[in-house]
């Protein structure tokens, strides 16, 4: 089997400005954040980002990397909205294709199946069709003659998803309760990347969880990158939950240019290993501050 292991630098070298990039996960859950951070450190820009959006979209907006966002929502789950995405939208700084989250699923499915669109009732009557004037409806050729939304295929130049385990050949294992739409992001893309908490020998995959958890086949993978803590600060259960303290710090910093510059210098202008070290330090600082407050 081919060895598809890459470094984060090799991953980002495979991207270029102007690309349409799909990012797996959902909200602030199992996002390929190490890959997003690698993009933040690169010269790649002018991206169309396709995502069930979380802090991936926010961070890319904050860095000025986003020309267009395709999404049904952008949320941090425990915090309703992402401040950087809000700011980008409210300044008119990015183009927005906001669609129903089920339409989004069908767009990825259509791209995966190499058909131009899939029909759905979702979107009919809503402003999704008015704020996205390129969307069309289609009439059923059968006797019902129903008019439905024709959700266009969301073709991706590249996609990246984060999983719990993978092998060197690019089979991926998702041990959490929801595989989300990661398989379809990969299926919709020309270049397909999987980041994993750990790369393990193939026989450890099925030994480590039920067969249904082996839901990313190597048919869908071009490159696999080992990134321990690679979903931080989003949740990657059962390996770790969301780092709520860090997420609050991220949101608080976004509200103030100076605080954001400090956040960026400490956490984003550094490589992945230093990021992981800095977030552990930050967690210890928060714990110490909390203990001091409770002791006072």
């Amino acid at each position: 089997m081919a060895d598809k292991r890459l470094t984060l630098d090799e991953f980002v070298a495979g991207l270029s400005s102007g690309m349409t990039i799909g990012i797996g996960g959902w909200g602030s859950r199992r996002k390929p954040m190490a890959a997003v951070r690698a993009i933040l450190r690169s010269d790649v820009t002018d991206l169309t980002v396709v995502s069930y959006g979380g802090p991936d979209v926010g961070l890319l907006c904050a860095a000025g990397k986003v020309a267009k966002a395709v999404y049904g929502f952008v949320t941090l789950d425990s915090i309703p909205t992402d401040p950087h995405f809000k700011a980008a939208r409210q300044s008119g700084g990015i183009e927005a294709m906001e669609v129903d989250e089920g339409m989004f699923y069908l767009g990825l499915l259509a791209a995966s199946q190499r058909v131009p669109f899939l029909p759905t009732r979702a979107g009919l009557g809503s402003d999704v069709l008015t704020v996205n004037p390129s969307l069309r409806t289609v009439r059923s050729p059968y006797d019902d003659a129903e008019e439905l939304v024709a959700m266009p295929a969301l073709r991706l130049d590249a996609a990246v998803v984060h999983v719990n385990r993978a092998d060197a050949a690019g089979s991926g294992q998702i041990l959490g309760p929801d595989p989300f739409f990661d398989e379809l992001f990969l299926g919709a893309a020309d270049r397909r990347f999987v980041t994993a908490e750990r790369i393990v020998p193939t026989d450890e995959l099925a030994a480590g969880g039920p067969l249904q958890s082996l839901c990313i086949s190597r048919l869908l993978t071009d490159g696999v990158i080992e990134t321990p803590g690679g979903a931080h600060f989003t949740a990657c259960v059962p390996d770790y939950g969301r780092d709520e303290g860090f997420q609050r710090e991220y949101v608080a910093a976004a509200g103030d240019p100076e605080a954001w510059a400090a956040f960026r210098d400490r956490f984003l202008a550094v490589d992945e290993a230093d990021y992981q070290a800095a977030t552990r330090e930050a967690a210890a600082e928060r714990a110490a501050a909390k203990a001091a407050k409770e002791g006072a």
Binding site: W26, G53, Y71, G72, F73, V74, T75, P80, T81, F85, K86, R89, Q90, S91, G92, A96, E98, V99, D100, E101, G102, M103, Y105, T120, R121, A122, G123, L124, G125, S126, D127, V128, T130, V131, E146, E147, L148, P177, D178, P179, F180, F181
Partner: protein, 258 residues
């Protein structure tokens, strides 16, 4: 009025009862409920008059019974796997009854959770339309608005996320086929669209609220029938379930005060 009208029922408890009523008559459908009063309402309905309702764990599973708010995951009895991809199968099959929240709602039942202000450069970008467009044209949908005011109850929402009656009718039979906006529950009262032109009418006020207060807090011409009743009282059993089983810590009273 029953002979033993409970005393000391809080506004939040009336809201929970009103939300429970959204599920009355439902058989085996997936109940999804966002916000505290809806979450309590769905659980109350499941434990009393709608025993076949199917509740979710808020993550990727369906649960047996009706766990208390904030029940630890390990205490839940899971009955089925329900990842998001499968949720869409349920949505599009129609076997679901939903209470969503609304940043804005208007007189024909359009809901907005997308953005306030002009689309290209909104004054406030909200979470996004999420599943509202698809939900509303596929299965019964109701709304929960814990802060009833002329800012939330508006003549016309800025971005139609959940589809109301007039917009569904204009979009044609494919949009109206499975469309139903059942109720709107706010911190002031209960509303529906059972009028000849499907515009919003006042069904009941929560005890302690006057019709005039509701009208003043609504930014459009609300239909007010002659016989507006009070939102019904909880039964002693319901009140006990709310206070001692489902929400002993009183989370409900932090969402809606008074």
């Amino acid at each position: 009025m029953s002979e033993s009208t409970p005393t000391g029922v809080t506004r939040a408890e009336y809201c929970a009862i009103a939300c429970a009523e959204v599920f009355r008559g439902d058989g085996e459908v997936m109940a999804s409920a966002f916000g505290t009063a809806p979450a309590l309402g769905a659980r109350l309905a499941r434990l009393t008059f709608a025993p076949d309702l199917v509740l979710t764990d808020g993550d990727a599973a369906l649960v047996d019974g009706a766990p208390p708010l904030g029940a630890p995951p390990a205490s839940l009895v899971l009955e089925s796997h329900m990842p998001y991809r499968r949720v869409f199968d349920v949505v599009w099959s129609g076997r679901r009854n939903l209470i969503m929240m609304a940043s804005q709602i208007d007189r024909t039942g359009n809901q907005n959770i997308s953005a306030i202000g002009p689309w290209a450069r909104p004054r406030a970008q909200l979470v996004g339309v999420r599943g509202a467009p698809g939900n509303t044209v596929n299965h019964s949908t109701s709304y929960w608005v814990p802060n009833h005011s002329t800012r939330s109850f508006v003549e016309q929402v800025d971005v139609v996320s959940g589809v109301g009656y007039a917009r569904a009718a204009a979009a044609g039979p494919s949009a109206t086929k499975f469309h139903e906006i059942r109720f709107v529950v706010s911190n002031l009262g209960v509303f529906d669209f059972a009028t000849p032109d499907h515009t919003m009418q006042l069904v009941s006020v929560h005890p302690g609220v006057t019709v005039d207060e509701v009208v003043a807090a609504t930014g459009f011409a609300l239909v007010v029938p002659d016989d507006v009743s009070d939102t019904r009282d909880p039964t002693p059993e319901e009140l006990d379930l709310l206070r001692t089983v489902l929400d002993p810590r009183g989370v409900r009273d932090r969402e809606v005060r008074a």
